[in-house]
Amino acid sequence: CFFFCIVSNFKKRQAQVPITPMPHYSDMDTPDLKNKLNKFGVRPLPKRQMVLKLKEIHQYTHQLIRSDSEDEAPSAGQTSQAKVSSSASCRPANCAQPTFKLPTASPSKPSRDDEPLSASQGSNTSSTAESERYKSTSNPELVQLSDGDSDSDGGVSASQSASRLQDRLQAVRAFILSDSSLYNQILQYKPLVLSQLQQQLKAAGIRLGITKLADYLDSQCITFTTAKPGQSAPGRRRVKKTKTVGEGKVRRKKVTSAPH
């Protein structure tokens, strides 16, 4: 059928030598690969992946488009085939459009679980199992602190809202000083549960966005956690797949020493 003709043409074309020969990405240096990807808005990746991605991009950008108005086949060898398919006014389903969006990876965000590239060459920054759990659940820098309430004042100037914020922070300070169990907790460096504190403040008539509250506590060097109260602190217990031989033996000993 008509459609299949187009598809088979397309496939044939893909098998031919492309218009511009593909550069030897596999022989290029990592910095060069990074620069090339950067031009497409793709973040640095492991070398192998960069090579693959660049090849993919090259294939995308060096396909022929089979529509009447947009025939991008400059070489003579291609034009005859282009003519053949240009009579079809439809595009094959898998044809690339002239303006395509690359499947770009977003620039490294802190919310990723795997290690973002650090600036130091060869640096190894990772964590124990216990820290991993902290990172994904309790780290105030990673957890998206959603501001449930926002200032509803419309045309308030920056200085006005700043002074309003200052007032609220003063109120927070006064609240903490007035609540002796809370203040004692802080003085003993016991971490506060952020959401709980926000609720307590709200009950006292002090409405403060959770991010602003976190910023204030940071400025005071007051430790807080974004974990829900039910959760334990980033656990000390590691989830190990293999236990050490020694540990295993100890356990067994205990079991067998049951009174008999």
Binding site: S120, T128, E130, L187, Y189, T223, A233
Partner: protein
């Protein structure tokens, strides 16, 4: 002489001595540094991290300890590992070409100790290996209450207090004169000094020079007038119920009391060297 510390929470830096790995650095958290370095060098099947397994040998060269809770230490660890993602370290520039990984990480941590939320914590910067020791840049000196220490440190097992009835010894606050409950009482480190007071009373006194702050850092014992660090021995863990509430002596770098000889036993006389 090894310094022993109870309720130990530390964030350390490892250095790879294998020339193949070109001075690679690893940042981690531990409650027991001696055990931890052994785990790293033994590999992931013996508790070491995957990232360091088989990429050694590793030396633990620097450790920041004195965090009052695991949560505080873990956040510090994360920020040290991801300075460019941390909200508090936007002023820390990326590693320059002439900077080694070790130098870069030292620069990052030097910055961290100076900013909130860490600059009021009772931290100690300790070089465990003399040969790697670096000085703080003149512009990146840590807060005066933070000692710079040299030599090994050992995490001491916290003795289990008899639980059950809270010993309700009656004490009076030397500042406000009211009765102090055990749960809100602070005592002086020195055994000869009988000072007792409310946490909040002494905090108020210590914060006289810093009226905008809520958490004190240092001050003078109202009875014996010795310079003290606010609760370096406060140890908290969300799961633990026991806290230690004694003021520790302060070695203030400004007054030159801090001695920097390698391997010298220093401030924490609170702990006794028990055999484990």
């Amino acid at each position: 002489m090894v310094v022993e510390v109870e309720s130990f929470y530390g964030v350390y830096m490892l250095y790879c001595t294998n020339p193949k790995f070109k001075g690679r650095i690893y940042i981690g958290f531990t409650v027991n540094p001696e055990r931890r370095i052994g785990q790293h060098n033994a590999g992931r099947h013996r508790g070491g991290a995957k990232r360091t397994s088989g990429r050694g040998p590793w030396e633990m060269v620097l450790i920041i300890h004195g965090f009052p809770s695991d949560i505080a230490a873990l956040r510090f660890e994360w920020a040290w590992q991801h300075p460019h993602s941390s909200k508090r370290l936007t002023h820390v520039t990326r590693r320059s070409r002439k900077e080694s990984s070790l130098q870069f990480h030292w620069r990052v941590v030097s910055n961290m100790l100076r900013v909130s939320p860490w600059n009021r914590l009772p931290l100690t910067a300790r070089w465990l290996k003399q040969e790697y020791r670096m000085d703080f840049e003149p512009s990146l000196q840590p807060p005066l209450h933070m000692p710079i220490a040299f030599g090994c440190v050992r995490a001491k097992k916290t003795p289990v207090l008899p639980s059950g009835e809270e010993q309700e010894e009656l004490s009076w606050c030397c500042l406000c004169g009211q009765i102090v409950k055990e749960s809100e009482k602070l005592s002086c480190f020195h055994l000869s000094c009988k000072m007792n007071c409310h946490l909040s009373c002494l905090a108020k006194r210590f914060l006289r020079s810093e009226p905008t702050q809520l958490l004190p850092v240092e001050g003078q014992c109202p009875e014996c007038h010795r310079a003290v660090l606010w609760g370096a021995s406060f140890a908290t863990n969300m799961a633990a119920s026991e806290t230690w509430r004694k003021l520790l002596p302060l070695h203030h770098r400004a007054t030159g009391q801090m001695s920097c000889r390698f391997n010298e036993e220093e401030n924490y006389e609170l702990t006794t060297s028990e055999s484990e």
